[in-house]
């Protein structure tokens, strides 16, 4: 057994280190420390494994809103995908009122070479281009397919915190609606 040890690593004993963080934690330190952040994104983190993302779309139907997501990452990461929920009640074809998000890379298409950055890109895309073919809020998806103008009006009104179809939506506007022009 001693020979096995001596075979290759001569330098191994030279650098004794203490026990360090788990592989999931080190990977998150690396990912968050190198995140490409743009002015429309803000990561609020005290704990690397549980943090919030604030996204303010600069274009599209959701422009002018401030959307908050909760990221929960377990020690199984990156074998297991991060768990992401939208913290507000919003009118979106791919997000249900409880905040579940239909985004393929968060579930069936997750794989360990993906990362937090990829999930953030995925979320951004979902707000720029909602996908009517993967409905999670069926009413929103049907409206988007049938009457685009009606859909846009409903999105804008939901973002002001109105009730639609018996559901009270969160006011997500960052500033008075007027500063973003009229819709």
């Amino acid at each position: 057994m001693h020979k096995l040890w001596q075979q290759k690593k001569k330098e191994a004993e030279a650098h004794k280190t203490n026990q360090r963080g788990s592989p999931a934690r080190i990977r998150l330190q690396k990912e968050l420390g190198e995140l490409e952040t743009t002015p429309d994104l803000e990561v609020v983190a005290t704990d690397l494994m549980h943090f919030s993302l604030i996204y303010r779309p600069q274009e599209g139907h959701y422009h002018g809103g401030e959307f908050r997501f909760k990221f929960d990452i377990s020690e199984s990461y990156p074998h297991e995908a991060p768990k992401v929920l939208c913290k507000q009640t919003i009118f979106h074809p791919n997000i249900d009122p409880e905040g579940h998000i239909c985004l393929n890379i968060l579930r069936e298409e997750w794989n360990p070479v993906l990362n937090i950055q990829a999930v953030i890109f995925g979320l951004q895309l979902l707000f720029l281009e909602p996908n009517k073919d993967d409905p999670l809020n069926k009413d929103a998806a049907e409206m988007m397919a049938k009457d685009r103008q009606e859909f846009i009006r409903t999105v804008r009104s939901s973002m002001r915190g109105r009730s639609i179809g018996g559901i009270h939506y969160s006011n997500v506007l960052v500033a008075p609606e007027s500063s973003y022009g009229s819709y």
Binding site: L32, T37, V44, I101
Partner: protein, 437 residues
Amino acid sequence: MSPTAAVEPTTTAALSSPQVPCIAGVDRYLKLRAAHVESFELADESGKTPQDLLDEAKILVIGAGGLGCEILKNLVMSGFKHIDVIDMDTIDISNLNRQFLFRKRDVGRPKAEVAAEFLRRRAPDVNITAHYKRIQDMSEEFYLGFTLIVCGLDSIDARRWINAFIYSLAEQHGFEGFKPIVDGGTEGFKGNVRVILPMQNACFECGLDLFSPKTTYPICTIANTPRLPEHCIEWASVLEWPRVFPDKKLDGDDPDHINWLVDQATARAAQFSISGITYSLTQGVVKNIIPAIASTNAIIAAVCTNEALKLVTSCNPYLDNYMFYSGDDGVYSHTFPYAQNESCMVCGHKRKSMAVAPDMALEELIELLKEDPSLQLKSPSLTVDSTNLYFQRPKALEERTRPNLEKKIGDLFASGSTLTVTDPVLPTSLQVTVVFA
């Protein structure tokens, strides 16, 4: 040993001597090999014979399930004399079809204890200790006491944990902490065995990408257009459970939890004319259980045992380092040296030691790291023991950790601490041990 014990043979010794004279042929084989081993490159320097090494080896078996039962039986029958087994589970009736050390009367009892009792009855001269515990609950000293570790686990999380832990033992304790791992795994007709020599070859984490993540279904399908019983079970577990019990974590081993899911999923399935919801399917979906096949376990356990025997006794060269068995489509098997992954979060890091004054500001320490020409760091982020020291990004974290830059390092961590440094130029991390001079 006390003098009386030496004179008066105990019942145990009396039973054992005539019972198993030639355990699995190993003792005769080792005697034959002993003559050749001297010239063999792996021969031990201590001058011990392969048989001595086998007699002295202390083996830890992790997992007493389908694979573990087979591994334990094989180790005992191969002549290993000191075996510990650790498993946190109790026996379920559904285990009896492939975990052959257990009987119906054992249902509900700890797997490790029942397995140890069975083996003690079969081989009373073998020293078997059972631990009905989680691997995370055992101390460093406990793990340091073994020669070699054999893993027969079905949980990727547990295998990742033990790999990282055993790796850090070798890193901290040098040869005393060097514990080779023989890791076996099966999935239906497929299986693999690897020999992990910490700090010398690829570790378990290096090959994490080989494991497909848990099977999941698009959330819109489970919410709106279920077609399979699995969709209804996921609807109940992913959407309904957190809605109805927002503060209760779903436990796949709690029958009350699974029964609740079965009821919800059955009602849901009826609405969509889907059939096939059962208790075992529900538990299988929740726990991501891939049905195990006893004979695949037997094949993989047999390879694990022989590799353990070769590593311990140096009687023959061992597996280098990955063996793959697939019975999915005909039978195919392949062995190759799995390469170390330079971006592995367990073994891919660089190491550095520094001796600096405790009144140095964190900012100066970071500058010192950046000046090291062998590293070429650009924007390092630092943590110690899961505490954030300084982060370059994101903005909120940078602002929160910025006040630490001016603080004295002696006020931030103790002498001898190891800092985890990440940087865009490093594939993983740099582990810096800082000693105060």
